[in-house]
């Protein structure tokens, strides 16, 4: 399997461990990721605040680059996935708009056609029946007894009209992956809610409250670890967890993993290689559980 990999900005910046673990996981699964080095940022729904057409033009350019490579495009960030998909939907549903955007791209040598390649989150390619079979066959350290709570990230789920990811209210893709890895999924209400990251600069307390409520919900549901497909959710839930703890008095800290890290652990890759130690939150409980699985 070969894909064009849209890395996004954060996996090259504050969460480089996501990039590292993604490449290790891909290697172990025999997936060939070709990094899209000239693709620009998806805009994160922020560039479109200033100029919707600018955001769509940048994303049309990225999609066009994948088309040129004739490879399906994979993202490792719920935000990138959601925002790129939204642009794709807008362009595909409005020929006139697509033409306008292509006119802007023309001089750079790119043209977006649409319908030629598929745009998917890494979780999407693993959560198919074939993907799950493959995972099961490659698991060397089943994560038995590990209770894993998914945190999806808003952008892949909503607006569902423009996401085509999963059932927006009852997604199951991540949990299916956890099961394939031998872990026990934890279902809790907040798994489809917002992590608060987009407003951390504007309304810090509300942002931390949102993240805190989600963490409390996961903890109360018995989660050993929360796994997210979005590095922004990761920043909110992990990097800010000390502030959140102060605000919400959680009384318990919970480690947050990137999805590829969890997969890689089950595939037998050492947690150091996955740079899990770079996370702000690391708890003895989790380390112990991992040790028992022989994964630490």
């Amino acid at each position: 399997m070969k894909f064009a990999l849209f890395t996004g900005c954060v996996s090259k910046g504050a969460t480089r461990e996501l990039m590292v673990s993604t490449m290790k996981t891909a290697e172990a699964l025999g997936i060939d990721f070709v990094e899209m080095k000239s693709a620009a940022c998806c805009g994160a729904g922020v560039v479109s605040e200033q100029s919707p057409i600018l955001a769509d033009a940048l994303n049309a350019r990225s999609l066009a680059i994948a088309e040129e490579q004739n490879l399906d495009m994979v993202t490792i960030c719920s935000t990138c996935q959601g925002i790129l998909k939204k642009s794709e939907c807008k362009l595909d549903s409005d020929e006139e708009y697509k033409e306008k955007v292509n006119y802007v791209l023309k001089e750079g040598g790119h043209q977006y056609t649409g319908g030629k390649i598929k745009l998917k989150h890494f979780a999407n390619i693993l959560a198919t029946p074939e993907g799950l079979e493959m995972l099961k066959s490659k698991v060397v350290r089943p994560l038995e007894g590990l209770k894993v709570a998914a945190f999806y990230g808003c952008y892949v789920l909503r607006p569902s009209e423009q996401s085509e990811y999963d059932d927006p209210d009852n997604p199951t893709g991540m949990e299916d992956i956890f099961e394939a890895l031998g872990a026990t999924p934890v279902y809790y209400e907040s798994r489809v809610k917002c992590c608060g990251f987009p407003i951390v600069m504007m309304n810090k307390k509300a942002s931390h409250d949102m993240a805190g409520n989600a963490l409390a919900d996961a903890i109360q549901s018995g989660a050993d670890v929360v796994v997210t497909g979005c590095p922004l959710c990761h920043l909110s839930l992990d990097s800010y967890q000390p502030e959140i703890d102060k605000l919400k008095q959680l009384g318990y800290s919970v480690p947050i993993l990137h999805l590829p890290q969890l997969v890689a652990l089950a595939l037998g890759i050492d947690s150091k290689e996955l740079e899990i130690h770079k996370h702000i939150v690391s708890t003895p409980n989790f380390e112990n559980k991992l040790a028992k699985l022989g994964a630490a």
Partner: protein, 335 residues
């Protein structure tokens, strides 16, 4: 036969809410509201909820079904019944009065806060004001709002911050911000850029998902943001965050995470810094703690923590390949 598990609440009788199960088999082609009525009229007359038009236009009958806000009259019963069960609860983010009836007063108070009426030029033409079809299309979607409160119920920000105006009021605001006949555009976006306004929206998209009409508040909020930036209403973290973000993409094709937080709190361009100094001096003179100090101190712990773990983004910010093409696109679109 389906089970309707309904959250009951009647403080005249019992302080705490509880769930009660009703068995009812809805005929094909009937709505969830039809089911509620049949249950009320044939099983338990005390069951209370609001309803009126039953054609998805009056906005009375919004409730939560299986945890998410919907209009009861707009949904076929069979579509909301999952595994022979549907759980019905009052809307969220509002105080329950009785059963599925909630107190809408705070909702209306927020609508009132956005100056929810047109402020046109004083002089009236003899006939209608002209408005092009393109101008009409800007307010077409927001004007479909029926004030049902479904978005308000499921808004992730309102769950944690009462001060947020919320999706319905902001969609109503867009109805006027985008109206070519309104003369108060700038004043409106200034007011909407204050804390509790547009920049407090967390982009979760719940309101789009729950909206029973094309009003879809989140999209409208984004439209107001664009107008606010166009109108030069930049003196707040939200606007600066957007400007800094876009600037970073323009220069390198990629986000510079080291610069973004600092620019967002005010260190953005010469003019921005001048503003920042002026505003904060004013606060100091008024005996208030300048916000920039709070903001900077807010950034320090998380920054140090990340630094310690080696999580700080590279100090030297690398551009994407072929960044010139990215720059060209910005130029082409006059950004």
């Amino acid at each position: 036969m389906a089970t309707f598990k309904i959250k009951r609440y009647n403080p005249e009788i019992q302080r705490e809410p509880y769930y009660e199960e009703f068995q009812y088999d809805p005929p094909e082609g009937t709505t969830l509201l039809d089911s509620l009525n049949e249950i009320k009229w044939t099983q338990d007359g005390t069951l209370s909820y609001r309803m009126s038009c039953r054609s998805a236009i009056c906005g009375s009958c919004a409730v939560k079904a299986n945890g998410h806000a919907i209009l009861a009259c707009q949904r076929q019963a069979e579509h909301v019944i999952k595994n022979d069960t549907v759980v019905l609860e009052p809307l969220g983010n509002m105080k329950p009065i009785k059963d599925l009836v909630v107190d809408f007063d705070p909702f209306w108070e927020k609508i009132n806060k956005v100056t929810p009426y047109l402020k046109p030029e004083e002089t009236k033409p003899e006939k209608e004001r002209h408005q092009s079809q393109a101008q009409f299309s800007i307010i077409d979607d927001s004007s479909t709002c029926i004030m049902c409160g479904a978005c308000y119920s499921d808004c992730n920000v309102l769950e944690v911050d009462d001060n947020f105006l919320g999706p319905a009021a902001l969609a109503k605001a867009q109805r006027f911000v985008g109206d070519s006949r309104d003369k108060d555009r700038k004043a409106r976006v200034e007011q909407l850029s204050e804390p509790g306004g547009i920049w407090d929206c967390t982009h979760c998209g719940e309101c789009v998902e729950r909206c029973p009409k094309p009003a879809e508040p989140f999209h409208r909020i984004k439209e107001i943001m664009t107008v606010a930036l166009e109108e030069g209403v930049h003196n707040n973290n939200g606007a600066r965050h957007a400007l800094s973000f876009t600037k970073s993409i323009k220069h390198s094709g990629r986000l510079n995470e080291n610069v973004l937080p600092v620019e967002s709190i005010g260190f953005l361009g010469v003019k921005g810094i001048v503003n920042l100094v002026q505003d904060n001096l004013k606060m100091l003179m008024q005996g208030k703690v300048p916000t920039v100090i709070k903001d900077v101190f807010g950034l320090i712990p998380v920054g140090l923590r990340m630094l310690k773990k080696g999580k700080i983004p590279p100090i030297i910010h690398h551009s994407v390949d072929d960044v010139d093409d990215v720059k060209r696109i910005f130029k082409e679109l006059k950004q």
